[in-house]
């Protein structure tokens, strides 16, 4: 799978970090999303999908 984020949309709510902590983090200086792993292993798909569902800014996408 390939994960993409749109930093401009992100409002730093941190939902993605809770849902998929090995894939997402937040920048220390402004809380904006950081993609830790653009191509996470397949067993992370459910977590990534959960992050997409929870992200209030619709800033995360995944291609499988």
């Amino acid at each position: 799978m390939r994960v993409t984020i749109e930093e401009d949309k992100c409002c730093g709510a941190g939902q993605c970090v809770l849902a998929a902590p090995t894939v997402f983090d937040q920048r220390e200086e402004d809380g904006i999303v950081i993609l830790l792993d653009e191509t996470p292993p397949d067993d992370k798909l459910a977590e990534v999908r959960q992050a997409i569902r929870l992200c209030p800014a619709l800033a995360i996408k995944v291609e499988v």
Binding site: G12, D25, Q26
Partner: protein
């Protein structure tokens, strides 16, 4: 209004062919949203309602519609737009005098919000856990020392979120009592509007204004000092705008968290088998807190918005300029998303609830709120496992008329 012979139609104005008043009131279980909304979500999920001003607005009760509208860039949170479905005149005055980003759109909204996001990241809040834990332990020590009965609202839930906000704003310990008292006058729905506005002006222009001056002269380690140094001094924001940020944190972060905590505890005490399960298996805690957020939905007045373009949704057209109320408590009881939604069940997957809203205004303080709730409720379960309600539910005083739902007192025994 006289009582019609057709009880069903008279009971439910949505079926009586007239535009019903909003807000509707709760009846039946005090932790359930008004029962009319359940019916409405089925039959008219996007309905016309009449506000206290006489103005009409759209009331949205289905989960998917609420999320779609709150994330839609054609929907504005700006409360100065003519169609905005405001809550009450006092609120309108205060929000006009101390504008804050909760009622701003892009580009101002992200400009202000991003000044604060660093302080609310999941990691930064994790680092605050030991502080929260020691505050909770101190309070529970005091409760245990005094012995039953104890009013948990007075002893714990109102104080904890207030101290956390004082930490963020760098309010010195000796001023916290004053700050708390004023905050309570403002939040109480029974305070006459004129008294509440006077208290807000005193707290904002008076206290927060002078706090900013003190931080400017002698910055500390707190978030407010950082904003003074990095935003106010270089002229990125005005003093009035910084006061607005302080006010926003106070109104958004105090009663919401305090009342979710006390109502959530009540929900647990009313479901002893779930309380017992949580006492015996602390790994249920984080899920239980999400369920409490969903079930209690303390920000019960709904998310207020205005359409800035025509929007087709669910078979209706919301015209540009019309007001919208996205009813988060109704959405969080949508059975299409949460099976058997009116049942409190700490074992369900309640993540995805809209108790913190949705879209770019979704609660900035949610990591802090979660930490406060997890630590307070988790520690109560561990240290006072046999806790029970000390009075019948019918004797509890619910804050039906407040902008944030809550409970005046929660007497417990053990």
């Amino acid at each position: 209004m006289s009582v019609s012979h057709d009880a069903a139609a008279a009971g439910c104005p949505f079926h009586a062919g007239r535009v019903p008043d909003y807000p509707t009131r709760r009846s039946g279980c005090p932790l359930d949203p008004p029962p009319e909304l359940r019916e409405l979500r089925k039959t008219q999920p996007i309905a016309r309602v009449k506000m206290w001003t006489g103005q009409e607005a759209w009331l949205v009760t289905r989960y998917e519609d609420v999320r779609a509208l709150l994330a839609d860039p054609r929907v504005s949170a700006d409360n100065s737009r003519p169609g905005y479905p405001g809550a009450n005149p006092g609120m309108a005055m205060v929000r006009a005098k101390y504008p804050s980003f909760i009622t701003m759109d892009a580009p101002q909204h992200p400009y202000f919000r991003r000044m604060l996001t660093a302080d609310f990241t999941v990691k930064r809040i994790e680092a605050m856990r030991p502080r929260i834990q020691s505050l909770v332990d101190e309070r529970i020590d005091a409760i245990l020392a005094k012995g039953p009965p104890a009013d948990i609202v007075h002893e714990l839930t109102l104080a904890l979120p207030m101290i956390m906000i004082c930490d963020l704003l760098g309010v010195p310990y000796e001023d916290q009592h004053y700050f708390h008292e004023k905050g309570m006058v403002i939040a109480n729905g029974k305070t006459p509007p004129a008294v509440a506005s006077a208290a807000i002006v005193e707290l904002c222009d008076g206290y927060i204004g002078s706090l900013i001056d003190r931080k400017n002269a002698d910055p500390g380690e707190d978030m407010f000092s950082r904003l003074v140094v990095t935003q106010l001094r270089p002229g990125h924001i005005t003093k009035q705008q910084l006061i607005g940020i302080g006010r926003l944190l106070l109104v958004a972060g105090h009663e919401t968290s305090a009342n979710t905590m006390s109502l959530g505890l009540l929900a647990l005490l009313e479901h002893p088998e779930q309380q017992k399960a949580l006492v015996e298996d602390p790994s249920l805690l984080n899920g239980a807190i999400e369920e409490i957020l969903r079930y209690v939905d303390a920000a019960h007045a709904g998310r207020r918005r205005t359409a800035i373009e025509d929007i087709e949704i669910g078979g209706v057209t919301i015209r540009a300029g019309e007001g919208i109320i996205c009813h988060n408590p109704a959405a969080d009881r949508d059975p299409e998303v949460f099976p058997d939604a009116d049942r409190f069940d700490i074992r369900r997957d309640a993540r995805g609830h809209v108790a913190f809203g949705f879209g770019v205004h979704q609660c900035l303080g949610q990591p802090l709120a979660r930490a406060e709730l997890q630590i307070a409720i988790g520690t109560l379960m561990r240290r006072i496992p046999t806790m029970r309600l000390a009075v019948p539910v019918s004797e509890l005083d619910f804050k039906e008329d407040n902008f944030v739902y809550g409970i005046e007192h929660l007497p417990v025994a053990w």
